[in-house]
Amino acid sequence: MKTFSESHKTVFVVDHCPYMSESCRQHVEFDMLTKNRTQGIIPLAPISKSLWTCAIEASMEYCRIMYDIFPFRKLVNFIVSDSGSRTLNSWNQEDQNLQELMAALAVIGPPNPRADPECCSILHGLVEAVESLCKITDYQHESRTELMENADRVANRGRIICITNAKSDSHVQMLEDCVNETIHEHNKLAAGSDHLMQIQKCHLVLIHTYPVGEDSLVSDRPKKELSNVLISEVHSVKAGRHLSTKLNQLVQLHFDLASTTITNIPMKEEQHANTSANYDVELLHHKEAHVEFNKSAGEGYNGSSSRENCLKETVTLKWCTPRTNSVELHYCTGAFRISPVDVNSRPSSCLTNFLLNGRSVLLEQPRKSGSKVISHMLSSHGGEIFLHVLSSSRSILEDPPSISEGCGGRVTDYRITDFGEFMRENRLMPFAEPRYCMDGGPEVPLERAKEQLERHTRYWPMIISQTTIFNMQAVVPLASVIVKESLSEEDVLNCQKTIYNLVDMERKNDPLPISTAGTRGKGPKRDEQYRIMWNELETLVRAHVRGSDRHQRVMDCLMACRSKPPEEEERKKRGRKREDKEEKAEKPPKENEHEKKWQESERVKSVLDREKEDLAEAEVIKDSPDSPEPPNKKPHIMVEDTGPAEKSKGPMSLLSLWSSRINTANSRKHQEFVGRLNSVNNKAELYQHLKEENGAEGVENGKGSRQ
C-alpha cells in the first residue's frame, strides 16, 4: 500500500442536526431478567438509540478497527455539523485514539431536537472536511522535508465519510457538487500556501441513514468520478445494526482488510468450569496475510479491484493448542496487526487475553485430507497482537551444505563459549531519549553499538589454540575491562593488579595453558610460554592504548612488569639474576604502600575489602626470600640496562620500570614536585623525561617487529 493513499487521511463528517435525534426504531432490551429473581416484576421498557447514537457507534467502531490495525500513518479527523461545524481532533498522532474522540464526543452531546432545523446543515461539516484535507499531516511534512527537491512525490489524498440524513437524490447531488466546488476553491488557496497541500484525490463516501421501517428517499450509487479529483459513492442504509454492518464493510474495503476465523478454540465454560467447549473468533487484519490463499486459489485474483464488488468470506484456520512455551524462530513472511470483530465477546476476550499473556498459537489450515499444514501464528508483542504468516511451501534452501563442510568447518576448537559471552555483552537495548555527544550533535545508539563491537574485537583470537591469555582465568579482570571506552581508577587498579598477579605467577613458575596442539614433544619451555603470554597480553593492551590516558597507564604498567626477553635472561644467568629478582619482588609492596595511603585519605569507605586483598597479595610477595635491595647498586644497573633495551626488542629497562611505577602511584595523589616524584634515593635526576621517552620508543619499535 502506498504510504499516502486515500487511507492516509479520513475525515468523518457526522450530521448533528435535530433530525438525527430521532429514534432509529430498533429496540434494545436492557433489563434482562435473570434467574432466581422475584417473580412478577415487569421489566423496564426497552429503549432505542437515536440516529445520532447509531452513527457515532458505527463510526467509532470503524475507528477502533482502523486504530487497532494501523496505529500509525492512518489518521482520522472527526467533524460534527449542525448550525456550524465542530472539529473534534487534529491530524496529530497524539489525537489519534478512541479515548480522545469519545471524550470530545461527550462534550458535543446528542443533537438538540428543538434546535431550528433551518440553520442546521451538513454542508458546514463538508466544507470543513475539505479544508481539513488540505492541512498537511506530520507524516506528510516529514516525508516532504526528507525528500527535499522531490517533495512533490508526497501526495495528498484523502477520504470523507459523511453520515447524514438526506432528503432526496437531488439533495445528495447538491452535497456532492458542493464538495467538488469547495475542493476546487481550496486547491487554489493551497497552491499559494506553504503549509497547505492541494488535494489530488478525494474519495467521498456519502451514507444516508434513516430509521428502520421508513422508506429510503435516497438511492445507492456506486463509485462515480465527479471530477479528476473527486470520486463519490452513495450508500443508503437503515440505522441501527445495519449502519454498523455497513461501516464494518467499508473499513475492510478502505484499508484492504480480510477476515480470519479461528475455529476450535477450547474454552472453559462460565457455568461449568470443568468442561470446555470449542469456540470461534473472527479477526480482521490486512489482506496480505491471505496472499497465499488468494493467489493459489487462482480465482480471479487480479489486483485490488475484485474486492470492490464482494467482500471475500472469512478464511477459517484451526487452533493448535500450544504444547510448550519453547522459543523458536519461525520463518515468517509477514506479520499483521489484528482486531477482533466482536471485541467484547467472551470468546474474543479469552483469545486476546491468552495471547496478551505471552502465549503464541499456531494455526492450521483445515484440509480434507493429507498432512497438517501450519500456515499462520498468532502472537503478541508488547501488548499488540499480530497474525504471522508462516511459510508453508517447499523451501528453496532445502538440503544446504552443512557449515561443517565449508570454510573453517574442520576447525574444532573455536571459542564458542567465549564468543557467546561476547554476544551477551554486546546485546542491544532500546534507548528512548535522544542522547548527545560531547560536541553537541545527536548520538545514535546504534553507532555506539558498532563502536563497542569494534573495540571488543580489536584483539579477539577465534580459536583456543591461538590464544593463551583468554584461556587464563587470571587475565579475565584485565581482558574484560581494557575493552571499555573509558576506564575508572578502579579499573586501572584491577588491571595493574592482574599484571602483578601474572608477574607473581611467572616468578613462581606456575604452568600456563599453552596449547601443545600441532607441536611435537612437550611444547615450549616455561619461560618461552611466559614470553608468548606477555606478548599476547601486550597485543591486547596495545590495541586499546589510544583509548585514554588510563589505558596508557595500564600499558605502562604492563611494559614495566613484563618479563625479560631471552637475551636478558641469558645475562641474568651470567650473574645478575639475583638483583633483577630483588627489584621485581620489591616493587609491589612499595606500590601497595602508596596505594594504601591514598585509600585512607581519599576513599576510606569503599575499599576496605579490596585493601585486605591488597594486603594478602603483598604478603605473598613479602614471603619471598629475597632481601631488600642494596641501594648503592641501583645507578649501576640503570646504566647497564637502558642501553640494550633500546636496541633489542626487550621492552623493559629498570629505569622505566621504576619511574613508571612511581608515576603511576603519584598520579593519583596531589600534585607532587616533579623532582621528588622521580627521585632515586631522594636524588632527583635531571632531564629524566628524555630518557623515558627514548625508552618508550625503543619498546614500541621492538614490539612492532614481533607481531
Binding site: V28, F30, D31, I47, T53, E57, A58, M60, R64, P71, M102, A103, L105, A106, V107, G109, R153, V154, V291, S296, Y301, L329, T333, A335, S339, P340, D342, V343, N344, H381, G382, S391, L397, P400, P401, S402, I403, G406, C407, G408, G409, R415, I416, G420, F422, N426, R427, L428, M429, P430, F431, P445, R448, A449, Q452, R455, T457, R458, W460, I463
Partner: protein, 518 residues
C-alpha cells in the same frame, strides 16, 4: 529463486543457420549451446539453484522437474524432439502451474524462455492471445502476470533486425509489460553463430546468475561470504522512493538480540550465508559444496582448516539462542541466525527485514538500539532473567483496554448485568459497582445515549425497592445515590454530564450510631 527453462521446440526452431564450416546448424542447436553454457555456469557457481525444464509447441511438457542435478538437465537438452507450432499462452500457463505446485505463490522465480521469435499463427499464437486479452474472465485468464513474484527473461534465437521486421519484438515486449515490467528481452548481437549466442547467455548470467559475494563483519572480525540466493533489489513505496534498494556488500553486525526477543519477525526473504575462500584474483575457491574436481577438493580441505568467523558466529548463535542484527544498507537491517536443516546439519542464515526506520515495532527504531553498557544498569538483569523487549506501544489496542461496544444488544446487556450483579452485592462490591457504573456512564455520554442512563437509573431505583430485609442498610443508600447521579447525568450539561466526572460512592458511616450518617 527457482528457475524454469522454457524451450521452444516448434518446427521454426529447426530453421537452418548459415554457419561457417560444413555442418548444418539449426536455431535449436544455438539454443542448446546457450543453455549448456548456462547450466555449466550454474553447476559451478550457482549450485543451489533449483531448475526445471519445460518444452513447448502447441502443447507443453515438463521435461525435468525442479532439480539441482545439472547433468540431468544437460541430458534432457540432447533428447529434444521437434514438434508443431508455437503456442506461448499454454506454455506460460504450464509454467505457472509447475511453479505453483512446487513452491506456492510467494517464492520468486525466474523464467528463462528460449524462442526464435516466431510466435505462432492463428488461434494460440501470441498475437491472438494478446488481441483477446480484454475478453477474458476468471476461468481463462492470461497467465501473466504470474501469481508468484517472477522475472521473465526472453532469450531470442534471432537478432534485433529480424525481430523488428516481423513485429515479434513488440509482442514480446508486451509480455514483459504484462508481467508488471519484471523481466528482460535478450537478442543475438550480429550474425547468428555460437559465439554470439554465448555472449547473449553471458549477459543473462550477468543479470541473473552471478553469485552475490559480500564481507560479513563484526567489528574487526570478518569473513568473505556468498549470499544465496542473491538478494534482490527492493522498492518499498514506488511513489515516494521509486529507486530500488540493494543490499551492501559489507554486511556489518551491529549487535545481538535473544531469539525470544526478536520473536519470529516478518522477513522479506532469507538467504544462506556461506563462507568462501577467495584466492588472490578474487575468484572463489570453494563454497563448501561437494565437488568432483580434485584440485578444488584439496583447496576446499585447506580452506576447511583455516578458522573462519562465520563458523564461530554460527556456533555461538546456535548455542546461545541469539540472532545477530546486521546492517544491510542505510535504514535497512536483517538478522543472522543458525538454521538447522536436520539434527546434524545447520547453517548460518540471513533474513532481510523490510527496509525502514522501524521494521519491527516491538524493537522500536533500529537506530535507537544501543549497547547495554550505555545503560545505568543492565536491562537483562544480573541473573540474565529480564529483557528490555518488547517495547510497549504508547496507546493500548482496543482488545487490551476494555472498550465499550454496544453495537450488538448483547454487548449492552452484558454491561448492564455487570452493574446489576454488583448492585446486589453491595456494600462489599461498592468499588466494582461504581467502576462499572462509570464505564457505562462514560460510553453513554460519548454515544449521546442518554436514554440508557435514565433507564439504568430507573432500574437501580427499582433494585432499591427490591432489597431484602436482610440487606445492609448501606446498599439502599448507595443504590439511590447512584440512581440520582445517573439521572443528573442523563439531563446533560452541568458538571454531572461531564465526561471526566466520576460518580463516587456515597460516604456513609455505619460504625457509629445508626441514625447519624454521612
Amino acid at each position: 529463486m527457482p528457475t524454469v527453462v522454457v524451450m521452444d521446440v516448434s518446427l521454426s526452431m529447426t530453421r537452418p543457420v548459415p554457419v561457417e564450416g560444413t555442418e548444418e546448424f539449426q536455431r535449436k542447436h544455438l539454443a542448446v549451446h546457450g543453455l549448456t553454457m548456462l547450466f555449466e555456469h550454474m553447476a559451478t557457481n550457482y549450485k543451489l539453484e533449483f531448475t526445471a525444464m519445460v518444452v513447448f509447441s502447441s502443447l507443453w511438457e515438463l521435461m525435468v522437474p525442479f532439480t539441482r542435478d545439472y547433468n540431468t538437465l544437460q541430458e534432457a537438452l540432447s533428447n529434444i524432439d521437434d514438434y508443431d507450432k508455437t503456442c506461448l499462452e499454454s506454455a506460460l500457463q504450464g509454467v505457472s502451474s509447475v511453479v505453483q505446485q512446487e513452491w506456492g505463490a510467494s517464492i520468486p522465480s525466474q523464467i528463462v524462455l528460449v524462442t526464435d521469435g516466431c510466435l505462432g499463427i492463428g488461434k494460440g499464437s501470441l498475437q491472438h492471445s494478446l488481441a483477446t486479452l480484454n475478453q477474458r474472465n476468471d476461468s481463462n485468464r492470461f497467465p501473466l502476470p504470474f501469481s508468484f513474484p517472477s522475472k521473465l527473461y526472453i532469450m531470442c534465437m534471432a537478432n534485433l533486425e529480424e525481430l523488428q521486421g516481423s513485429d515479434s519484438l513488440e509482442y514480446l515486449e508486451r509480455l514483459i509489460d504484462l508481467n508488471n515490467g519484471e523481466g528482460q528481452i535478450f537478442t543475438i548481437d550480429g550474425p547468428l553463430c555460437l559465439k554470439n549466442v554465448q555472449s547473449m547467455f553471458g549477459k543473462l548470467i550477468d543479470v541473473a546468475y552471478t553469485p552475490f559475494h559480500a564481507v560479513l563483519k563484526c567489528g574487526n572480525l570478518s569473513s568473505d561470504v556468498q549470499v544465496f540466493p542473491r538478494p534482490e533489489p527492493v522498492i518499498t513505496d514506488e511513489e515516494i522512493d521509486p529507486l530500488p534498494k540493494t543490499i551492501n556488500t559489507d554486511l556489518e553486525v551491529v549487535g545481538f538480540i535473544d531469539i525470544a526477543d526478536i520473536s519470529s519477525p516478518p522477513v522479506l526473504s532469507r538467504h544462506l550465508v556461506l563462507p568462501i575462500a577467495l584466492n588472490k584474483e578474487g575468484d572463489e575457491v570453494g563454497t563448501g559444496l561437494a565437488d568432483d574436481m580434485e584440485d578444488e577438493n584439496s583447496a576446499n580441505q585447506i580452506a576447511g582448516k583455516i578458522p573462519n568467523f562465520c563458523v564461530l558466529l554460527h556456533g555461538s548463535l546456535k548455542v546461545e539462542g541469539m540472532v545477530a542484527l546486521v546492517q544491510l544498507g542505510p535504514d535497512w537491517h536483517g538478522m543472522l541466525y543458525s538454521q538447522a536443516d536436520s539434527k546434524k546439519k545447520s547453517n548460518l542464515m540471513m533474513s532481510l527485514f523490510e527496509p525502514g526506520l522501524e521494521p519491527l515495532p516491538w524493537l522500536g527504531k533500529t537506530m535507537q538500539l544501543g549497547p547495554i553498557t550505555d545503560a545505568k544498569e543492565n536491562p537483562y538483569g544480573e541473573e540474565d532473567n529480564k529483557s528490555p523487549f518488547p517495547l510497549q506501544p504508547k496507546n493500548k489496542r482496543s482488545y487490551a483496554q476494555n472498550v465499550t461496544v454496544w453495537i450488538k444488544p448483547s454487548g449492552l446487556q452484558t454491561d448492564v448485568q455487570k452493574i446489576l450483579r454488583n448492585a446486589r452485592k453491595l456494600p462489599e462490591k461498592t468499588q466494582t459497582f461504581y467502576k462499572e457504573l462509570n464505564r457505562l456512564r462514560k460510553a453513554a455520554l460519548a454515544f449521546g445515549f442518554l436514554d440508557l442512563l435514565k433507564g439504568v437509573s430507573d432500574m437501580l431505583e427499582r433494585e432499591c425497592t427490591l432489597l431484602p430485609d436482610t440487606a445492609h442498610p448501606d446498599a439502599a443508600f448507595q443504590l439511590s445515590h447512584a440512581a440520582a447521579q445517573l439521572k443528573l447525568a442523563s439531563t446533560g450539561g452541568s458538571e454531572h454530564g461531564a465526561y471526566d466526572h466520576n460518580i463516587v460512592p456515597l460516604q456513609t458511616d455505619f460504625s457509629g450510631r445508626n441514625s447519624d450518617r454521612i
